[in-house]
């Protein structure tokens, strides 16, 4: 038999039972549609995360902790709790000398200490409490920070601040560009070391005798930072950033954790962490090794890349499993349709055999029919998946945009997904056709021709 005859024969047969063919194909369409949108969602998430990590050059960065601080768990959903810090006695501290030393290493572009201090922000008649991050000018103007409005500060000595659009929204500013050039007030909380006795912790916790002092400073908003949909563990993620020089003038709490307080008392206070930026991810290993020799711990996202990839494979598998259930149900529909078709065409199969069709011919005709259902279902199912995904993407982005989250393409439709969906659909329907085709091939022409 010629290939074109198989196609013509199977299509004319399917056309004869239009409604049933349509319903069966519709089952496949829904199955493939579900599978395609699920996988495209998984693929979209992965693309978003890895691409935004790449765009932010997160794979080029290493975070350095004082010796004995071990970076353990990492939860991308809660940027504030990136590291589980396990304390060990350690003598090496992260000071300016270390910063200079690391800066000298091959492949290192920038080193800046991770300095945060709590402050009260006053702007537009609103008040918010935030951690202010000290970010050197050279980092502020790097790719790590995406500005929505304004421009980064160029000198470390200006009294400028970069604010996130997220915080602006909370301060009741809708249009970020209107905030540029406005004055903003930061009230820092400074700590009086002399009056602090760690043994009197109980009274401290009760709020008595707090050795704190407040100071007000005025800054100018120069830039509005874009909130990150997939910010992840970026080294620059706070809502407020000020340059290093300006930060030195501020009396502030030089720590963000209780552990820092004890270290400060011992007179060993260094930076709680250093952010190291490399010119390329290929230096990660060598720089990490050198930093470890100095007696510090490191954390590099590049190390987690494999783990991230693995977790995405799991995500994809879970998503695909949902789609697979739909496909499985659809394949039962194909089997049902094809078996029904044998019963209806019993005599026809007998006639085919009587005029010279071999068992193989009959089997192939049925395989062509079931794979035609799969092929049509695959194409239309991919179309359905695409349309539904576009729709969901629009709706989700519409609602998230109102909350200041930038537009994100949640679904990804690479070519392999189309080819894969088509192949999968045809293979599944061929598999569903195995039993019916086998049964059709076995029809005894003598009985079939007597059949009424």
């Amino acid at each position: 038999m010629k290939f074109s005859d198989y196609i013509e024969l199977s299509f004319s047969n399917l056309w004869k039972m239009k409604l049933r063919t349509f319903l069966t194909t519709f089952g496949v369409i829904i199955g493939i549609g579900a599978l395609v949108s699920m996988i495209s969602f998984g693929s979209g998430m992965q693309k978003n995360v890895t691409e935004s990590f790449k765009a932010l050059e997160l794979f080029n960065s290493i975070t350095v902790f004082p010796g004995g601080y071990i970076a353990a768990g990492r939860d991308p959903d809660e940027p504030g709790q990136r590291f589980e810090r396990v304390a060990h006695p350690s003598s090496a501290i992260l000071d300016e000398k270390v910063v200079a030393e690391i800066s000298e290493l091959k492949g290192v572009e920038t080193v800046f200490p991770d300095v945060n201090f709590p402050a009260i922000v006053r702007f537009n008649g609103q008040e918010e409490f935030r951690l202010v991050q000290v970010v050197p000018a050279r980092v502020a103007s790097s790719k790590m920070i995406k500005l929505q409005a304004g421009k980064p500060y160029l000198s470390d000595d200006e009294n400028s601040v970069i604010i996130s659009n997220w915080l602006l929204r909370q301060l009741k500013i809708k249009d970020p560009s209107t905030a540029i050039g406005k004055k903003i007030e930061l009230s820092s909380i400074a700590f009086d070391f002399a009056g602090f006795n760690p043994l009197n912790l109980a009274s401290l916790l009760q709020g008595n005798k707090l050795p704190l002092s407040k100071e007000n400073y005025e800054f100018t908003i120069v830039g509005v930072k874009e909130g990150m949909g997939f910010g992840g563990p970026s080294p620059v993620q706070n809502d407020l950033m000020i340059p290093a020089g300006a930060a030195q003038k501020i009396k502030k709490l030089p720590f963000t954790s209780v552990w820092d307080i004890f270290r400060a008392k011992e007179g060993k206070l260094g930076y709680s962490a250093l952010n190291v930026r490399l010119s390329s991810p290929k230096y990660v290993e060598s720089v990490k090794a050198k930093i470890k020799e100095m007696g510090f711990s490191t954390f590099a996202l590049a190390d987690q890349l494999e783990q991230i990839k693995t977790s995405f494979i799991y995500l994809d598998m879970i998503l695909a499993a949902v789609g697979m259930i739909a496909i499985f149900v659809a394949s039962l529909g194909i089997i049902n349709t094809m078996v029904m078709s044998i019963l209806e065409r019993y005599r026809e199969i007998g006639i085919m055999k009587a005029v010279g069709a071999s068992d193989g011919d009959v089997r192939k005709i049925f395989f062509f029919e079931s794979s035609s259902i799969g092929f049509m279902g695959g194409i239309l199912g991919f179309g359905l998946g695409w349309v539904v995904s576009r729709l969901i993407n629009r709706i989700v982005n519409y609602f998230l945009a109102r909350q200041g989250v930038p537009y994100i393409e949640y679904f990804n439709f690479p070519l392999w997904l189309f080819v894969g969906a088509m192949l999968f659909s045809v293979v599944v329907s061929l598999a569903a056709g195995i039993y019916p085709a086998h049964r059709a091939a076995k029809v005894d022409p003598v009985i079939a021709l007597r059949h009424d």
């Binding site: 038999m1 010629k2 074109s4 005859d5 024969l9 004319s12 004869k16 005599r347 026809e348 007998g350 006639i351 085919m352 055999k353 009587a354 005029v355 010279g356 069709a357 071999s358 068992d359 193989g360 011919d361 022409p445 003598v446 021709l449 009424d452």
Partner: protein, 233 residues
């Protein structure tokens, strides 16, 4: 006188159907020789095994024991694939109930077997039209079986059976669903094909008068066995 070669030869041909624990002997030790170009009729009551014999000769069924030779080839020893080839090229069959494809036109029915012998679409059309002309149905070519009379349907079936130019035509009660006038026309058509083209025809019938009138030879079957073999001419 030159003797024509033997087309069909069966040797101790038997067929036993098993249904559960019951065995039904449909044919028992049938020895048959059919000379090329003859018109042979097989008659007998229903259940005498005539259709079984025809199905075996047509390669639709396989014998329980014994052999069938068609033009020197033992079709009783063929595998399924080879048997399909034999049905395609070696033999044409027509039936009491015509067995046409109801969704297809007369022309499409006639060309249908050519699909399985890898003939291109144009050539199929051409040959099918030629064949329809031979049975006198050119004008009914685009009618479906439901729009044709019984006689016309049987003519379409004959055209279909002969589309691959077999040497042998097997007719299983071809007039069983037809009135007597149409029956005679159909049998006459078979006789014409037999006379003019040297086609060997084996016709199963329960109408003894019709069989005796047109055939060269009549075989009586009873209880799966050959009871009599009469040479008419």
């Amino acid at each position: 006188m030159v003797t024509s070669p033997i087309v069909i030869k069966t040797d101790k041909l038997s067929k036993v159907y098993t249904s559960g624990k019951i065995q039904v002997v449909a044919l028992k030790d049938v020895n048959l020789s059919v000379v090329e170009g003859k018109f042979l009729a097989i008659i007998g009551a229903s259940g005498s095994g005539k259709s079984t014999l025809l199905n075996l000769l047509g390669g639709l069924d396989t014998p329980t024991s014994g052999t069938i030779q068609v033009q020197g080839t033992k079709i009783s020893e063929m595998n399924k694939e080879a048997l399909a080839g034999y049905r395609r090229y070696g033999v044409g069959m027509i039936f009491q109930s015509f067995n046409l494809l109801l969704a297809r036109t007369a022309l499409e029915n006639v060309e249908f077997p050519l699909i399985f012998s890898d003939v291109g679409k144009k050539e199929r059309r051409r040959r099918a039209e030629e064949m329809l002309e031979k049975v006198g149905l050119t004008e009914r070519r685009s009618h479906r079986p439901s729009e044709l009379s019984g006689g016309e349907q049987q003519r379409v079936a004959i055209a279909r059976a002969l589309i691959n130019n077999p040497h042998l035509l097997l007719a299983d009660e071809p007039t069983g669903n037809l009135d007597s006038r149409t029956s005679r026309e159909i049998v006459q058509l078979l006789v014409d094909l037999n006379r003019n083209q040297g086609l060997t025809v084996i016709m199963v019938s329960h109408q003894e008068d019709l069989a005796r009138e047109f055939s060269d030879e009549v075989i009586h079957l009873r209880d799966g066995m050959v009871r009599a073999q009469d040479k008419i001419k």
